[in-house]
Amino acid sequence: MSAPETSGAAAASSAAHEPAKDKRAPEGLALQFGSAWEYAPAPEAADHVKIEPRYELFIGGKWQAPQSKKYFDTISPSTEEKLAEVADASAADVDLAVKAARTAYEKYWSKLRPIDRGKYVYRISRALQEKARELAIVESMDGGKPIKESRDFDVVQAAAHFFYYAGWADKLAYAFPGRNPRALGVAGQVIPWNFPLLMAAWKLAPALATGNTCVLKPAETTPLTALLLAKIIEECDLPPGVVNVVTGAGATGAAVVGHPDVDKVAFTGSTDVGKKIQKAIAGTKKKITLELGGKAANIVFADAPLDQAIEGIIGGIFFNQGHVCCAGSRLLVEESAAEMVIRKLKDRMSTLRLGDPLDKNTDVGAINSRMQLEKIRELVASGEKEGAERFSAPCKLPKRGYWFAPTIFTGVSQSHRIAREEIFGPVLAIQTFRTPDEAVEKANNTMYGLSAGIWTDKGAKSFWVAQRLRAGVVWANTYNKFDPSSPFGGYKESGFGREGGRQGLLAYLEVD
């Protein structure tokens, strides 16, 4: 990070000398955190983790050099150091991968007894648990997320996802009684950089359990854990070609999606790219599921348990640096509670520790890429320019790497870009409302519909609001909870199809 003027540190550093007296906190209520003592570093040791200098493509059960002969670097966003170089798959490589997947489908995977298919998927889950530490460390190095998240959330959920779907493999007839469920064939799957391993699990686990073979394209900034997963799959002795991993950027993804022998396209990423994919497959027989962007409203009523709500708001927007499609990026707070909520939020933000993703105390890690950092800066600048009031947590930003201090905006109006566009960063836009109807109206006033949050002490009100929110996942008095058995996916321009649960099977099955 070389531009402190956008970091919030500059804005906050002058205030840091007199933190208790600033305008955000009336008479003596302000708390002072973090400036009295420095936290000692508590880094997760990475010495036993071996990252190869170069990764090839995993096609047909073998590690193959790309036809393109090209490689690209993957770097650590927290240090800007190169971690490895990774093959850049061309259309020809993708073609090989799809052929391998087709052969594997016909020769092995569709012929296996369902329970044996399940056993392979169980194996993957077990191996993920066995290699959990290594995977968590590499995930944090390659993607910048705090180790406590990769260790306690990403890897755990990824293993759980494989475990959950493994058990469905021999039970599909019960999932859709009388409807003769059958596999589609070859699935082309393109996944994002925010939860690299977990998204690979969300895609592969149901696809494999339902009897499909896969060509997986990880994001170009975070390919490493998908490659480690490929290694695990190799070690689990899955038949060659059942899972193929092709690394590369947008062109590689387009080749996967556009390949004529792909039967199913699954994509998680931005709404813009999702629309291009939907367009690209128009007129084909391909089945498609899209999990796209979001601009979730987190609605806080005055009767809510406020301290819990504050934790939910903080987790909702700053979890994984806000690189979460279902992030609670709009806070709608009932007018009578707004002042209290905003003050508590600022206090809580002041306690967030930003820095080394491998430090076990870190709350907020590095922004995933320079490109993403620039996008966040650009949108935050627009928020300031359009007249919203910015507050950034007073934290020091490391000198190297990509960082952005947790930031909130007050005085946001519906027309502001920061209230409408997905920022995909640690930036919260706060608006107020007076009645439940107004809250619902504002929450639904977006092209997205992935998720939403409700905080209230009134059971009836929470369900009333939940029924009216046009969002695929609604968290009431909680936020950002995930589980393999719980379907996840959007309404409106947040995409279609569900991942997780029995409903998630449908994305990979033909049923009567």
């Binding site: 759980a160 409807r179 709404t271 999702g274 629309k275 291009k276 939907q278 367009k279 128009a282 007129g283 899209l290 796209l292 092209m447 929470s462 369900f463 939940a466 969002a471 695929g472 996942v473 609604v474 968290w475 009431a476 008095n477 909680t478 909870k481 589980d483 058995s485 719980s486 379907p487 996840f488 996916g489 309404y491 409106k492 321009e493 947040s494 995409g495 279609f496 569900r498 649960g501 029995r502 409903q503 049923v511 009567d512």
Partner: protein
Amino acid sequence: MAKKKDESGQPTMSAETSKNGAADSAAPAGATLERVPVRKAYKMYVGGAFIRSESGRYTQVAEAPGLSTKENVSRASRKDGRDAVKAAFGAWSGWSGRTAFNRGQILYRLGEMMEARKSEFVSSLANSGLSREEAERETLSAIDRAIAYAGWCDKYQSLFSSLNPVGGPHFNFTSPESMGVVAIVAPARPALLGLTGAILPVIASGNTCVVLASEADPRTAVVFSEALATSDLPGGVVNILTGSVKEVLPHLAKHMEVAALDLHGVDASLAKSIEESAVINVKRVRTRSLTQADWFDAASAETPRWIERFIEMKTIWHPAGP
């Protein structure tokens, strides 16, 4: 009203006439002074009202097979499409907000109204070229379909929903909701059974719709709207336009308030361009081309899977704790 002579030379009532309720006995044999029958204007059904196209355009269809007399049917414009979407969008929150039980009662009422109009449906289908026998078979199937989906209104939820055993102290469940406005292209044939079979699963779950009627037999769709209008269905839940699919559908595909498309028997090249346009707001596009036999196969056409095509699944989490 055109008249046909039977072999005895006696004037008989055309199907149209009997449809309009005139008893055959009202026309005494050998009468020279006939009662002049009242003709019917075939209007589109939008927002609960029967309207002509704002464009003032029409298409003509033969009054009955073999007759040179024509009847005029409205030809919908782009603007009619927009008006219909507006009506459908406006009706959506009310319709989806009704209890499932109430929706079921209204669809059952639709079945009652169709049964009462049985002979009118049969005549209308016959006028478009079906034999009397075929027309009767189709009409009875269509009525039964209304009854079948009336029953589904408050039952599919239990089949699609789940209580999810998440790993933590949370109560977590998933249940279906409607999508919003669905634009439906009804199949050319069977004109009545295809129309009802396409509309019913869409509205059973609380969606509202804009339907482009069969071009092969637009009049039967109008007769069907007359049954809808008397079945307590709130205005705007079903809006039926007659005209050219090729002309109106592209605009519906680009409309931001249309959530989904249900395309029956749309030719491949049009379907491709429609799917491309639908990207604008990530519409859910379903295409299918059922054979006539498929539409008549109640076992497959009355399964809840047709409802499943136009619902969204919502998952709600709530912590459980003391």
